[in-house]
């Protein structure tokens, strides 16, 4: 069916369209903050698909609009201030509208958003679009806000002055009906006899004259926004509020998400048990329960956190607070060569680096985007938490305190701080290394008035983000989990072999230990021993680190398995008893203080998450940057781990 073809065609990742050929294509153009996304969501409803433009990491959103006489494909072009592009996003807009560009299908018509509260500026973009010679209709937004703020605009006079169809769209108004009728037949749209002038001064004069002809009266400054900003952007109160918002952010991510995550974990544990009961073959049972269900469950357990994160971020963005937060943080960010908007991406990385990396799309400069992506994995993601909890539990006695603060809590905070400070330091180095090649983009950021958030926009943003995360992470993590399962359980040990080695085949735990000892993963672990020996790791820890490539928290479960812990979820007691024999013959506990410190620091820096690498590859359009990230982070992890091992060894 054609409708499904339109919404399904090649939507899983990079593609260049593939939508129904005969439906008219309409492009939606406008500056950011003009209500473009709201219009797009309102017109297309659920019939949307997202992807990337060919060859660039600019997100592409297309949807199908049901019109009275059929359907129309609406393409939501990235927000742009000018057809003279300054960023890859804006270049895409110019390329799509450029009739001489044959790579991208030319639209049959263009909708241009005019923000009625900033009409002259919007008319500037319209004048550039009209130069392209495509049938154009102007859509006027925020007319209700204009009236509320004491401004006015005669839309019909505007239409007469411009010579193209002009529709004012407010929720519940009749503009939408007329717009849908217009969308049916772009070739019927009126065109102006003369194009607007191109010279900047003349274009500005043209915009002023059109506004005057439409009886445009500028709105007063939004009193509500001014009043709120007097607090939220106040040097003292604003900073305090910002700190409070950040604190709340983290509380919600970790505290509120925790029970939801618990449910997901229980659901998957139940699934695993059910699979265990119904599958006879032990080998297959282990595969299904551990690799498949465990792997997928390990990904989906993060969905509540990611969903909550996106709900908050899209709420703050819809309301208008995010640009203000970026404004407050810009000075700090610019010291390390980033900008205020990078702060949001890095903040998101505290839950998981994947949404953080996806959030870098808001940065206009591709250099900033890459720099932020390179350091986002250093922000302490929540997958590291179970590892930190286990290792800190072994390193620091439970009751110890420093003043009024528990030492374990201080250690945890210290690790978070180490990650954040390292991210800033690496960003600074990155700037030094790459800053000379291209001129820096200027920083500019519109501060929109506070608006009531659109629930539909938020819902769509959250859904898109979660769907993207699940699709991307699930496939990669599942694949890695399966590979790891194979490494840990092959070669399969025959009963005779085991008995010859003195293993009691009735004892499940002993069998598991024997299988692990002789598995392919163990061989890899032993092969890596020379590399990690200066950090105090032995082959068993190496296997654990290897398993964390699927997802960092898998380290805990793997170590539990290796230690044949009676309680795999809390292997601490068993791990503490493990010993290793030094080359000189002495025996030491495997998890002594220097080794634990080295392991902790290793986890702060190492890029273990394959899913993050996969997303990085997609966002940067190639393998170059993910490989650089992996290599530099591994080098950093090894060096810092070695330092930690040496320093703690001297202190203890």
């Amino acid at each position: 069916m054609r409708r499904h073809a339109a919404s399904h065609g090649g939507c899983h990742g990079e593609d260049s369209g593939g939508v129904t050929v005969d439906a008219p294509r309409i492009a939606l153009v406008g500056s950011p903050n003009t209500g473009k996304t709201t219009l797009f969501n309102a017109l297309t409803g659920l019939h949307q698909k997202t992807g990337n433009y060919p060859g660039v990491t600019v997100s592409r959103a297309e949807g199908v609009v049901e019109t009275p006489r059929g359907r129309v494909v609406l393409e939501d072009l990235p927000g742009s201030y000018s057809l003279d592009p300054i960023s890859p996003d804006e270049k895409v807009v110019t390329d799509v509208l450029d009739p001489d560009n044959h790579e991208l299908p030319a639209p049959d018509g263009v909708l241009v958003m005019l923000d009625s509260t900033a009409l002259r500026r919007s008319l500037g973009l319209l004048s550039q679009v009209l130069q392209m010679g495509l049938p154009t209709t102007a859509v006027v937004s925020f007319t209700d806000e204009l009236a509320r703020r004491g401004g006015s605009c005669d839309v019909e006079a505007l239409q007469r002055a411009l010579g193209i169809p002009v529709v004012a769209v407010v929720s519940g108004g009749s503009g939408r009906t007329r717009l849908l009728e217009l969308l049916d037949e772009p070739s019927s749209w009126a065109t102006p006899p003369l194009p607007p002038p191109l010279e900047p001064e003349e274009s500005a004069a043209w915009a002023a004259s059109i506004a005057a002809a439409a009886g445009y009266r500028s709105p007063e400054t939004d009193a509500r926004t001014r009043a709120i900003d007097a607090v939220l952007l106040h040097p003292v109160w604003g900073t305090l509020t910002f700190a409070a918002v950040m604190f709340l952010f983290f509380q919600i991510i970790f505290t509120v998400a925790a029970p939801l995550q618990g449910w997901v974990e229980e659901a998957f544990a139940w699934l695993g048990a059910v699979a265990g009961e119904h599958i006879g073959n032990e080998w297959v049972r282990s595969f299904v329960a551990d690799a498949v269900i465990g792997g997928v469950g390990g990904v989906l357990v993060f969905v509540p956190q990611i969903a909550l994160l996106f709900v908050m971020v899209s709420f703050l963005e819809s309301v208008g607070y995010l640009s203000r937060a970026a404004f407050l943080m810009d000075r700090l960010m610019s010291r390390v060569g980033l900008e205020g908007r990078a702060f949001v991406a890095l903040l998101s990385s505290f839950a998981c680096a994947i949404p953080g990396i996806m959030a870098t799309r808001t940065l206009p400069s591709s250099r900033d985007r890459i720099a932020t992506m390179m350091v986002a994995p250093l922000m302490t993601c929540s997958a590291r938490l179970p590892v930190y909890v286990l290792l800190i539990g072994m390193l620091v006695p439970a009751g110890a305190s420093v003043g009024p603060f528990g030492l374990q809590g201080v250690a945890m905070f210290g690790l978070y701080l180490l990650g954040a400070v390292s991210a800033m330091a690496v960003a600074w180095v990155f700037q030094k290394v790459t800053g000379r090649d291209e001129p820096l983009l200027p920083f500019y950021m519109e501060i929109p008035p506070y608006r009531v958030p659109s629930l539909r926009n938020m819902a769509r943003a959250v859904w898109d983000a979660c769907a993207h995360f699940v699709r991307k992470a699930a496939t990669v993590i599942l694949a890695t989990a399966v590979i790891l399962w194979l490494l840990l359980n092959l070669p399969i040990q025959g009963a005779a072999q085991m008995e010859a080695a003195g293993v009691d085949t009735a004892d499940e735990a002993a069998v598991a230990v024997y299988t692990l000892d002789n598995s392919a993963a163990a061989s890899v672990g032993r092969a890596l021993e020379p590399v990690f020996e200066p950090l105090g790791f032995d082959w068993r820890i190496n296997v654990g680190v290897l398993s964390s490539l699927a997802a960092r928290e898998v380290f805990v479960a793997t170590m539990g398995q290796i230690a044949s812990a009676s309680d795999p979820e809390n292997p601490q007691a068993s791990l503490e008893q493990m010993t290793v024999t030094e080359p000189d013959g002495s025996v030491r506990p495997l998890f002594d203080a220097p080794t634990i410190a080295a392991l902790l620091v290793f986890f702060v820096y190492a890029m273990q998450c394959m899913a993050t690498l996969a997303v990085m590859r997609r966002e940067t359009g190639g393998w170059k940057w993910p490989v650089i990230a992996f290599v530099y982070m591994f080098a950093l992890a090894w060096t810092m781990g070695f330092l930690a091992h040496t320093v703690v060894g001297l202190l203890v």
Partner: protein, 145 residues
């Protein structure tokens, strides 16, 4: 589609951008014919003109042009954001660290860093008539010399 419609080419756009930048010349040379210095420092060097980054919070100025030290694409972007010569700009607030600064131009609030804002030349004091008078006087002076 009307045959009279001219298609926009990248050459047209570059030329338009060049015109935006040459608006710096409109800011004029001072009596000695010196134009702006080569550094992007925030010192005014046009008698009577200040740069945007120098205005106090709450004060306004009318934009007269862009500094020639400002990169063309930056000038173009500021123009497209609403920083058009002839428009009155008000300084709304500064960040706690004094940078960046929120400006209000033609109904829109835009945050700029000082490094960009000091490329925008304004006539201090917000009397648009005074601006017209000055630029006419300047044009007279230029034509007389």
């Amino acid at each position: 589609m009307s045959a009279a419609v001219r298609r926009l080419t990248s050459r047209d756009m570059r030329r338009a951008t060049g015109r935006v930048v040459s608006l710096a010349a409109r800011g004029g040379a001072d009596a000695n014919g010196d134009t702006r210095g080569h550094h992007l420092g925030c010192a005014p060097d046009h008698t009577g003109d200040v740069v945007l980054s120098e205005l106090e919070v709450g004060s306004s100025g009318v934009i007269v042009g862009f500094s020639s030290a400002l990169r063309p694409e930056v000038a173009r972007r500021l123009f497209d954001l609403g920083f058009v010569p002839g428009v009155e700009v008000t300084v709304v607030r500064r960040a706690p660290a004094q940078d960046p600064v929120v400006f209000r131009a033609d109904g829109v609030d835009v945050a700029l860093r000082c490094s960009e804002a000091c490329g925008v030349l304004v006539a201090a004091g917000h009397n648009p008539d005074e601006f017209v008078l000055r630029s006419r006087r300047r044009a007279l002076l230029a034509s007389a010399s």
